[in-house]
């Protein structure tokens, strides 16, 4: 199943439209160039996922700084950002986000929107699946990039069920692409 662009949870098949498999960071170049108002969405699973010497919260902070992105943390993940004194993160519920992202004029809790791109990870797979379905069907002004390890069919771009090591490597490539890096 590794590297196949099929839903990670086997029953979560989607409809006629499905995400494109992102096997390297380079495929995002065009979208990153076109989309300037980017939002990073970080769910509760990020608290327990490791990345390099830190965790996926540290990665979020690095990505936010490098890519000039606001962060919205869901499901209580905000506490980790507060503890790290990172101020460019606010909290909303995943379902509130799924709703607000459908509205083209939504400026977000920072007042800096409307956003034209979201990057998302860390929300339980099936819940992220439903959030992205709302975006794909009703928030068509948004380019959705799923950067969790498993394939999310409702994004525009998603990793094709990566092996762990491969996954973290490509995350670093994305970080570099948006202007950060080691």
């Amino acid at each position: 199943m590794v590297m196949k662009p099929v839903p990670w949870q086997t029953g979560e098949i989607c409809g006629p439209n499905a995400a494109k498999a992102m096997k390297s960071a380079d495929v995002l170049k065009r979208d990153l160039k076109n989309c300037k108002k980017r939002l990073l969405i970080v769910g509760s699973d990020a608290l327990t996922e490791k990345h390099g010497k830190g965790d996926m919260i540290d990665y979020a902070i690095a990505l936010s700084k490098a890519g000039n992105m606001d962060i919205i943390a869901t499901g209580g993940a905000i506490k980790a950002f507060v503890e790290r004194s990172y101020e460019r993160a606010k909290t909303m519920g995943a379902m509130e986000l799924a709703y607000r992202l459908q509205h083209e004029d939504w400026v977000g809790p920072f007042g800096k929107g409307p956003y034209d791109m979201i990057m998302i990870y860390g929300i339980p797979y099936y819940m992220q699946w439903t959030l992205l379905s709302a975006v794909m069907n009703f928030g068509t002004h948004i380019t959705a990039i799923a950067i969790g390890r498993y394939f999310q069919p409702h994004a525009k771009w998603s990793f094709p069920n990566m092996k762990e090591k491969q996954y973290h490597t490509i995350l670093d490539e994305i970080l570099e692409l948006v202007g950060g890096g080691k």
Binding site: T10, T91, P124, L131
Partner: protein, 780 residues
């Protein structure tokens, strides 16, 4: 009150003459003993409350998250509904999503209603149509949902049957609206969702009222007995009869038979899901084994000497599963015959013989009066031989099989909770079963991992082996269902609830599709009980809530009283007893505010929505029934939170806090339009984590009518919970401050600073209503 009357007599002597085989039918009798005036909407049709629904649906708009982007319900499809496309029938994506939500609510309502119909018909046959309906002492306003919706006071089983007639008619209409070529507007689909939810609540009230009145269950009793619960409580020295489902009638025949024959020293009866509550309500010697998700873990252990299933929430592969452990299955419901042969008309001894011999896997018996005898005889006969059998693999066998794991990850991909089953299997290969034990703790017992395994391993059984010590330790005391809330209790707490001084009523209900084990339900309930909210519960959530012991070995039911009061934990009973939770909110309007209930739905819902700080939580919501139960609360304006799996209901009902227009109400005293704080902010919401659910719960109890003291108490809890789970002081407190009296004193400086920063201005506290006709003088 409209009701039909019917009587017959074999022979009657009247002034008109002597009649043989006399049958008399009277179309309607008006209940003119009831002086409460009839409200505007008795027995409402699907559109009579449409205007009220639209008010709520304007404030809380549906947010759809399509689970499927095609429609495959007719032969013109499959139709691609992505983007702005419409199907061949003309329906677009939003309409289709709303239609599926209505289909789910219809299914859920049908399940409860068919149960209710069966119960009422059965009880009429057994006890007669004039049998009185009694909710219990201190319940002068009995059947509040019935009064509110139908304008009737059901006093007998015959009245109950008439109300079920109404429910069946309404369900027929809302179901028909789902057909291709009927309803076409998402808004009207959603209005019908509310309607069928209300009908569901009514049908549930009738079901519980009928069984409580006739079957010896606690009647509005805050001291309902504590009963034994958990797998470890089942006594293996006795024959064990497992009952699963929701309908008490067949299970009651078992406990009645055992009592009559004095066989309690030989036989043990345990229930799973709502039948568990109802058999223990009827006979506290029976036991509550566990919630719906525990079916497989109990059956696989081979403890059940016979399995008796009735209806709803039964695993549909129950016969296959029971066959593996040589337990015969007795199906008792025409809704769940399970492919078994009908032995209803056979002599009891012949049925017992066939089941004991293993000649048949099980049988269907529609005559519930003989189920008890058959089940008990079979269990007692099979127990000695079954206790010598081993059904689970040994640890060594598991270790050996684990070595052949194909490492394909299919078990993980199949797991709804994404549990790392494969890693646990690989650890088992080395003899370490601890990871499998961890998986067991968070397992919802669906066994999808087994279906996906290319080696056909019984992975769930492996987990049961790994968790054996935990199983044996599952010993708890839980308070069985009390039924309705007494008027006297409402009198005592009505004012502090409406003024906000008891900060809220939190109802934990529903199924066991938990994202991370059942303990979460207990922790959420305890978090708010210790803060003196009233905790109400029912169904599988009520079981899980009791399955945690504190350092003194006590469950939440042992620690806390069963009264409807601050800091108490009130188990009303099985799923159909959910209606008493709605009933309590309705009775607050009647008793505290002296509002008329009779056929007066919109006014009472408006009252509850603005004044009663109630929140429903269904952390493991799974079924269509949970959807229809939620819909009943939505129409009353009561917000509902579900766990993360609830996002798969594919539609939330969400408010926009910053849209002042959405939070504008009439001041009933003056008719002025007044902007209130956004409370309750949402009507239906799936929370990702316990942290999010707790923060949201504390916020959703806020109501426009809170007094200064009440608002201040509610905000104190919200702030404290927010700081605990999110790590910072919430930045929206200023929105909820109307006057300085709303400010919690200990946090005054911080809040004043926030108010200043946001240019806060004092607001009016209205007598809030969404209904213009509620304005004194009619709003003209």
């Amino acid at each position: 009150m409209k009701k039909k009357a019917y009587f017959k007599a074999d022979e009657a002597v009247t002034g008109l003459g002597r009649f043989k085989g006399l049958e008399v039918r009277i179309g309607t009798i008006v209940d003119d003993e009831w002086d409460e005036p009839m409200g505007p909407t008795p027995l409402p049709s699907p559109t009579d409350l449409r205007s009220w629904d639209h008010k709520l649906l304007t404030k809380y708009q549906p947010s759809y998250m399509p689970y499927c982007q095609v429609c495959c319900l007719c032969t013109m499809g499959k139709c691609d509904l992505t983007g702005t496309k419409r199907g061949a029938c003309g329906l677009d994506m939003k309409g289709q999503q709303a239609r599926i939500v209505l289909a789910a609510a219809n299914i859920g309502c049908a399940a409860h209603l068919a149960h209710s119909r069966h119960l009422v018909d059965h009880l009429i046959e057994k006890y007669g149509p004039r049998t009185p309906l009694i909710q219990g002492p201190g319940t002068e306003i009995h059947a509040p949902v019935s009064r509110l919706v139908t304008g009737m006071r059901p006093r007998t089983l015959e009245d109950a049957s008439i109300i079920i007639d109404y429910c069946e008619t309404q369900l027929n209409h809302t179901l028909s609206a789902v057909a291709t070529g009927q309803e076409g507007s998402w808004l009207d689909f959603e209005s019908k969702v509310f309607h069928v939810g209300m009908v569901d609540q009514l049908g549930m009230e009738i079901a519980d009222l009928a069984q409580v009145s006739t079957l010896g269950m606690p009647q509005a009793d805050p001291d309902a007995p504590l009963v034994e619960s958990g797998i470890g409580m089942m006594d293996k020295e006795k024959a064990i009869i497992l009952t699963i489902g929701h309908n008490i009638v067949p299970a009651a025949s078992i406990t009645d038979y055992i009592t009559e024959k004095r066989l309690w020293d030989q036989a043990e009866v345990g229930g799973m899901c709502c039948t568990a509550w109802d058999i223990t309500r009827r006979d506290p010697k029976a036991k509550v084994i566990g919630p719906i998700s525990w079916q497989l873990r109990f059956i696989r252990r081979g403890l059940a000497d016979v399995v008796v299933v009735d209806e709803q929430c039964v695993r549909t592969d129950i016969v296959t599963e029971a066959r593996k452990v040589k337990s015969p299955v007795i199906s008792t419901s025409d809704k769940a015959v399970m492919g078994l042969p009908d032995r209803t008309d056979d002599p009891i001894d012949s049925i017992v013989k066939e089941l004991v011999s293993g000649k048949i896997d099980g049988c269907y018996i529609s005559d519930h009066s003989i189920v008890g005898e058959v089940a008990t005889k079979v269990a007692i006969a099979l127990k000695p031989s079954r206790r010598k059998m081993k059904f689970l693999p040994t640890k060594k066998q598991i270790q050996k099989m684990a070595a052949d794991c194909k490492k394909c990850s299919e078990c993980i991909r199949a797991c709804p909770n994404n549990q790392n089953v494969m890693e646990a299997v690989l650890a088992a290969e080395t003899g370490n079963l601890e990871p499998l034990r961890e998986v067991y703790k968070n397992c919802i017992g669906c066994a999808r991992c087994e279906s996906a395994c290319p080696n056909d391993y019984d992975l769930h059984s492996w987990m049961v082996v790994a968790g054996e010590a935990d199983c044996k330790d599952e010993k708890y005391m839980v308070r069985t269902g009390r039924g309705a809330i007494q008027d006297t209790e409402i009198r005592h707490v009505g004012q502090p609830i409406v003024f906000g001084e008891i900060p809220g009523i939190i109802a934990h209900v529903g199924c066991a599709n938990y994202p991370g084990g059942g303990d979460d339900v207990h922790h959420m309930a305890e978090e708010f009980a210790k803060r003196r909210y009233i905790i109400v519960t029912s169904g599988c959530a009520a079981i899980s809530m009791g399955h945690v012991r504190d350092e003194n070995g006590q469950s939440i039911y042992e620690r806390r009283s069963g009264e409807f009061d601050a800091g108490c934990v009130v188990n009303v009973g099985s799923c159909v007893a959910n209606s008493h939770i709605a009933g309590a909110a309705i009775k607050i309007a009647a008793i505290f505010a002296k509002r008329n209930l009779r056929g007066n739905y919109a006014e009472i819902a408006d009252y509850i929505h603005h004044r009663v700080g109630a929140v429903g939580i269904s952390w493991g919501a799974m079924s269509q029934k949970a959807a229809s139960i939620a819909a009943g609360f939505w129409r009353l304006g009561v917000p509902v939170i579900v766990g993360p799996h609830g996002s798969k209901y594919r539609r939330m009902l969400l408010g926009k806090a910053e849209e002042e227009r959405d939070w504008t109400v009439y001041d009933a005293r003056t008719g002025d339009r007044v902007v209130t704080a956004p409370g309750p902010e949402h009507l239906f919401y799936a929370a990702e984590t316990v942290a999010e659910a707790n923060v949201l719960t504390a916020k959703l109890v806020i109501r426009p009518n809170d007094t200064g003291k009440g608002r201040s108490i509610k905000l104190s809890h919200y702030i404290d919970i927010h700081e605990t789970y999110y790590g910072f002081f919430p930045d929206d407190i200023w929105k909820y401050i109307r006057r300085e009296t709303d400010i919690p004193i200990t946090l005054k400086n911080k809040i004043l600073a926030q108010m200043k920063e946001n240019k806060w201005k004092e607001k009016k506290i209205p007598d809030p209503t969404l209904l213009k006709e509620q304005v004194i003088g009619g709003g003209t």
